[in-house]
């Protein structure tokens, strides 16, 4: 799953080398902390959060396939 998040984010940004994704677990929920270059922040989030919403939907679909819950967060 972390590979999916990492791949998608890297495809969307201008500086894929600055992309870092961390996987954490809280109460059985998988949490992905996504760090990108400041200038790429808007790219990952999108207009009105369109892109991050789409990203979350795909990650949710993938995680529910394996019976997990997942959250994607863009962090500083």
């Amino acid at each position: 799953m972390i590979k999916l998040v990492e791949y998608l984010v890297k495809q969307l940004v201008d500086s894929p080398d600055s992309v870092k994704v961390e996987e954490k677990e809280e109460n059985g929920v998988l949490i992905y902390h996504v760090v990108v270059d400041v200038n790429d922040r808007g790219r990952v989030i999108g207009r009105e959060g369109k892109t991050i919403k789409a990203l979350r939907l795909l990650v949710n679909a993938a995680s529910s396939k394996v019976g997990r819950k997942a959250v994607v967060k863009v962090v500083d």
Binding site: Y7, A61, K65
Partner: protein
Amino acid sequence: MKEIEIEGKTVQEAIKKGLKEIGLSKDDVDVKILSEGKTGLFGLMGASPAKIKITPKDAAKKTDKPIKDGEKPLKETLLQTCSNVKDELKNILKLMGITSEVDTKVEGEYVHADINTSDSALLIGKKGQTLGALELITNMIMNRRSKDFRVRTLVDTAGYRARRTKTLEHLAEQTALEVKKTGEAIQLEPMSASERRIIHMMLKDNPDIQTNSDGQGAFRKVVLSPANPEKPDEA
């Protein structure tokens, strides 16, 4: 003959203007809506014109022929794009843990991708949300790589889009009848741009109905109103 681009207050107005200028009837041309336009607040603030492109049908037919000089690269580029889209989708789906077969074909300027998988329900998601997300992300990724033209991909699985289109066309027809009967405008529920387009296209030739989109972002919805509000049909 060549294509022309026309602006107008509404799509319908732009079409009328364009047909007059080009001197052809609606049946002889293909109309492409470039921008649906906004009426703005009370038709005053934030209004933006509707923009359309009118292509005479003869010319349109010729562009379909791949042999013609100068158009071959486009066709080839599209076919290349097709296989790129296929690879990209396969890649994403694999990372999602979904086993699938992807078929792609060129239709007009769109790439149609059909995903064959036992997980289609999961892939479609609530109200087709997940399928829409996959489509958006795929298009974004493809367009980041393609500099010279816009890749437009339609992603479908298990005939969901086709079914949804039918449902929307039916909804458009029924709502149009209701609007004609009562003479009052009806607002449909919020839809994506492509879904709104289906409604607009379905009713563009209906003389009794005018369609507009209203609202912002995810809340944007189609409004069906009588074409001549003063004289509602007394049925």
